[in-house]
């Protein structure tokens, strides 16, 4: 550490001297530019900053057409364009928006929220557009909801003795999610199928899943993870809040067993973690399922 500081200090002197010979003001400017790296405190301060990336477009107006005698038409952002683009071929726009794809894998370069493979999958269902609207009403990135259904069921309404529905929720988590969602937006109650039967109603379960995701965000934020990504919440779901935080702060080269020291090899194996599997490999397996949604932040519409 000291070695490169000394080397840089000498280099700074040489550059300063040579520039002063030509033009006195330039040397001063060079010193000022270099100061950020010669003062370790300032360096650390600069490194501690987290690059902020604009995730998707600003809040969009949802246009609607309302005229007497004409059916109400609401255009939900991200849905397939039902009107052909003027090339005469009859193909529609993809409704996916533009921007970064968030697939850089370092958790800092989130893509646009309305642009993910997972969201496209969910919007391919009959209930997808409604789930997107409900997620937005709760302040949730719709891709976070879509990623959950893609991982859990491929967005298929699956029944079973334990977890059920497109989001494969258990009764307790389902009820907690509903309560959280309704505490934020009581108007969603009108869409809810009451009782446990709601788990097999995709719209109802999407509301519960959105509420449950907000709980995950709250837990991670309270553990010092300022802006959790969809990948961060997967750790929370699979291994609990304490291990979820550990996974969110582990170097990708660390093994899963090292990142979750309280968990035995047998339990890791039951959860699909192979011996020696690294955090980076586990993250890659999630990315393989949900694509560019993985690095997107959970919050935001």
């Amino acid at each position: 550490m000291n070695g490169w500081l000394v080397a840089l200090s000498r280099a700074k002197e040489v550059v300063e001297v040579s520039l002063r010979r030509r033009r006195p003001g330039l040397g001063t400017l060079v010193t000022a530019a270099a100061t950020g790296c010669f003062a370790p405190e300032l360096c650390v301060s600069a490194l501690g900053q987290v690059p902020q990336t604009l995730n998707g477009p600003p809040v969009q107006v949802q246009p609607y057409v309302s005229e007497p005698g004409v059916p109400m038409i609401t255009i939900a952002p991200g849905t397939l364009n039902t009107f052909p683009i003027g090339d005469g071929s009859g193909t529609g726009g993809d409704g996916a928006g533009t921007g970064g794809d968030g697939s850089d894998g370092d958790g800092t370069g989130a893509g646009t929220r309305s642009n993910s493979e997972a969201l496209t999958t969910m919007l391919g269902t009959t209930w997808g557009a409604t789930a997107v609207a409900n997620a937005q009403a709760l302040g949730l990135n719709p891709s976070a909801l879509a990623a959950t259904c893609v991982i859990e069921s491929g967005c298929q309404n699956l029944s079973g003795s334990g977890a059920q529905g497109v989001f494969q929720m258990y009764p307790a988590a389902f009820q907690e999610g509903i309560q959280t969602a309704l505490s934020i937006d009581p108007s969603l109650a009108s869409q809810i199928v009451s009782g446990d039967a709601g788990r097999m109603d995709p719209v109802t379960e999407s509301i519960a899943a959105a509420g449950y995701q907000l709980q995950a965000v709250d837990a991670l934020q309270n553990a010092g993870i300022a802006n959790p990504t969809i990948l961060d919440t997967r750790g929370f779901y699979n291994f609990g809040p304490a291990n979820g935080v550990a996974l969110a702060t582990a170097d990708p080269s660390e093994t899963m067993a090292a990142a979750m020291p309280n968990v035995s090899a047998a339990t890791l194996a039951k959860n699909g973690v192979t011996p020696g599997e690294t955090v980076g490999q586990w993250q890659a397996s999630i990315r393989a399922k949900i694509g560019n949604a993985a690095s997107q932040t959970v919050l935001g519409v």
Binding site: V30, A242, V245, T249, A258
Partner: protein, 132 residues
């Protein structure tokens, strides 16, 4: 002319920053003065969705709770207990306090040879790795 000089200074500054190993490459940086510990929880407790281990703003049971601890905790070295609390670093860099009886030395059940060294991750979070 001043604008041109400012640009030259700016560009040289960027070149210097880019020449420092570990900065341009986006690698984790070691965090001297800290060490890893782990929560004193059973396996079942560590995976319990409702289990929360509080951290506080000051070394006192009456101090406000500012959040919850993760399974791996980065604590200041040497580890000293103040009023039954140990100072730790939150992932966002805040100094907070955790009850010392909620901590134990780092030792991975699933990988007994695993090492844990505190790091500053490329995304700015305080974290840990095996290289330090």
């Amino acid at each position: 002319m001043r604008t041109r000089e400012a640009w030259v200074g700016f560009l040289i500054g960027i070149l210097i920053v880019g020449s420092v190993p570990g900065i341009a490459a986006g690698q984790a940086k070691p965090l001297p003065g800290y060490r890893c510990m782990m929560l004193n929880l059973s396996e079942q407790q560590s995976m319990d969705p409702s289990k929360r281990v509080p951290v506080r703003a000051a070394p006192s049971m009456s101090a406000p709770t500012v959040g919850w601890a993760g399974a791996v905790v980065v604590v200041r070295e040497p580890v000293t207990s103040v009023n039954g609390f140990v100072q730790m670093l939150f992932p966002d860099g805040r100094q907070v306090w955790i009850a010392s009886d909620m901590l134990r030395p780092y030792h991975s059940l699933g990988d007994p040879n695993a090492k844990c060294m505190p790091e500053i991750l490329p995304n700015g979070r305080i974290g840990f790795g095996s290289h330090g």
